[in-house]
């Protein structure tokens, strides 16, 4: 057994433990499943009645953005889970065991992907009901889902870091909203950015949430043919630019989180 196998094995044990929790905390599961429904229906009927997408339908436009928004929010579960484990002393127990250093955070981010996959499935179903369609073939759509999930995974490392630092479930909830709301709203998530004031528009164009949403829409075939190609560089190279963000976030927050984990001791 090598070092890596050992680390992987520990990560799997931690992930299994978290997964057992999913079924044993049904409240959380219900939230994960109901939120996307509420979102899709609310936005498609409330905003959908007011927003025109030239040459296409708003609902087709909406779903790509809703995926990114929903899954980015889903990443807060990672921070919440870790903060909860700190408060209950479980992290101290883990830290006193001869397990691999990164296993707890890796296991946590891995098992939280399950929430996001469930969320995706529910949202896709709800999207279908309100008229969203995959127009570019199934394989291409899978790539789109993959990109959004990957971005959410990277984001969950930011939340992991915050969770390990603030150590309180309430605080991580607030901190999460504070970061995620502006990030997901000052973007092309729910409305096209053409009408934004120029500073906001520039922010939106360089916002990875926009580029992930755009890339996903392209993969789903949700961009009407009449829509002009974007002129901002990040949107022109949406997939590449988004993957760059994923790599950058992971490069910064994986080591930061692991270090924070090692320094975490429940204060009494």
């Amino acid at each position: 057994m090598g070092r890596l196998t050992l680390a992987l094995g520990d990560g799997v044990i931690v992930a299994q433990r978290n997964m057992r929790k999913i079924t044993r905390q049904p409240e959380l599961l219900v939230a994960v499943l109901i939120m996307p429904l509420v979102f899709v229906f609310l936005f498609s009927y409330v905003f959908g009645s007011a927003i025109e997408i030239e040459g296409g339908s708003y609902r087709e436009f909406l779903i790509g953005g809703a995926f990114v928004m929903m899954l980015t929010f889903g990443s807060t579960f990672t921070g919440i889970g870790l903060a909860d484990d700190i408060q209950k002393g479980i992290i101290d127990r883990f830290r006193s065991l001869p397990m691999s250093r990164g296993a707890v955070v890796f296991g946590r981010t891995a098992s939280d992907v399950i929430y996001n996959v469930l969320s995706t499935i529910v949202m896709a179903g709800a999207g279908y009901l309100v008229g969203w369609r995959i127009n570019n073939g199934f394989g291409s759509a899978l790539l789109g889902f993959g990109l959004v999930l990957l971005f959410a995974y990277a984001f969950s490392w930011i939340m992991a870091y915050l969770g390990l630092k603030v150590r309180s479930v309430e605080a991580i909830n607030n901190a999460g909203s504070l970061v995620i709301f502006p990030l997901t709203f000052v973007a092309n998530t729910f409305v096209p950015t053409d009408g934004f004031p120029s500073a906001l528009r520039t922010f939106a164009e360089w916002n990875p949430v926009s580029t992930v949403a755009h890339a996903a829409r392209v993969q789903f075939g949700n961009i009407p043919e009449t829509t002009p190609d974007p002129t901002a560089w990040p949107l022109e190279n949406a997939a590449l630019y988004s993957l760059g963000w994923v790599a950058a976030i992971l490069a910064v927050f994986v080591p930061l989180s692991i270090r924070a984990f090692q320094q975490t001791a429940t204060s009494n």
Binding site: G89, D92, R93, S96, P98
Partner: protein
């Protein structure tokens, strides 16, 4: 057992290096020198020295906030000290924390059980994280559940466990890998007398099998029963060390306690008691306390004298020194006063009274 050390693969160069080391079996010795830990203005540890020879039990005795948990946290690698150094079971806590973790078991002050797992799952997970292997982890979990009378609750979620059951599950967690060194931070707080005795029996058994145990407690009686050696802590420092008997001798043997019915009887009662006692009687709430030598003879003498003086004695007793007495005599403060910076008062210790009358 030492030979149940989990085997962990290492790079070849580390293997070469550890080959010479592994010829000497792990010695469960704990040695700490000059440990310092500061939290802002608070000095939690102020140069603490500790030595626990292999196969012995050291009791860390001290009031709230004296630094017991901080010391345990440093020795178990959960936090880093700001000064001093410590070696646990042959590994340096600062330089080689992962090696330390392989050789210790910890039961922290707050029971760290996973509420959403069953008792069995909790222990099995710990076993697998010690890399015992899947089957041995399962067997060990069952064994420990049995040992701590949790078999009936084994497959219930720990969420529904009582405080005492959680405590026992947490303790079982510390024993999963049968490590040579165990740290138990206030292991019997919140246990009923039966569970407490069970735990005491477990500790005895561990020591019989050569384990080293460092436990913290606020109860003299517990340190008395379990510990070979007791270190009394105050403000992050060691203020006394010795066996239970040595400490009791230090604070002057037994205590005589006499309560009188009326305030105006106190001066006379104090005079009588002072004549028999080793130190000046202390008074609180019409109860007088003083240390005596040969209490069994002094108590009836005191009663007779009070009777002759027509004092109304409402209660009388002889008791062994408590942590409070040790404290008072070592620091001039009561343990309670020493713990002023704590908001939540710990469960108070009822003095052990041996009723005579």
């Amino acid at each position: 057992m030492v030979d149940r050390q989990p085997v962990v693969a290492r790079p070849w160069w580390l293997k070469l290096w550890s080959m010479q080391k592994s010829t000497t079996p792990i010695n469960g010795h704990i040695e700490a020198e000059g440990l310092v830990k500061r939290y802002g203005d608070v000095t939690a540890l102020d140069g603490l020295d500790l030595t626990v020879p292999e196969g012995t039990v050291l009791g860390l005795l001290g009031p709230n906030g004296s630094g017991k948990t901080t010391a345990v946290s440093i020795l178990t690698t959960l936090i880093q000290s700001d000064g001093g150094h410590a070696v646990v079971a042959g590994a340096d806590v600062a330089a080689n924390p992962s090696e330390v973790r392989r050789r210790i078991g910890l039961s922290g002050q707050a029971a760290a059980v996973d509420e959403n797992l069953t008792g069995f799952e909790n222990l099995e997970m710990i076993g697998r994280l010690y890399h015992l292997g899947r089957k041995p982890a399962v067997e060990r979990a069952r064994e420990l559940l049995e040992r701590f009378s949790l078999t009936d609750a084994a497959d219930r979620l720990a969420k529904g466990y009582s405080g005492g059951m959680r405590r026992r599950l947490d303790l079982a967690g510390a024993l999963v890998a049968e490590p040579p060194v165990l740290f138990l931070d206030e292991p019997t707080t919140g246990l009923d007398p039966r569970s407490r005795n069970e735990l005491w029996a477990v500790v005895d058994e561990l020591v019989e099998r050569g384990r080293t145990v460092l436990l913290t407690t606020q109860y003299m009686e517990e340190a008395d029963t379990l510990a070979d050696d007791i270190v009394v802590m105050d403000k992050g420092r060691r203020i006394a060390q010795g066996t239970a008997d040595e400490l009791k001798d230090l604070v002057g043997g037994e205590r005589i306690e006499i309560s009188v019915a009326f305030e105006n009887e106190i001066p006379e009662a104090r005079r009588i008691l002072a004549g028999l006692a080793e130190d000046a009687p202390r008074v609180s709430n019409r109860t007088l306390t003083a240390s005596v030598v040969g209490g069994a003879a002094k108590l009836p003498a005191a009663l007779r004298a009070m009777d002759d003086a027509r004092l109304t004695v409402t209660d009388v007793g002889l008791r062994r020194p408590t942590l409070d007495d040790v404290f008072l005599s070592l620091t001039g403060r009561t343990a309670e006063a020493a713990a002023v910076h704590l908001e939540v008062a710990a469960p108070g210790e009822a003095p052990v009274l041996e009723e005579v009358a």
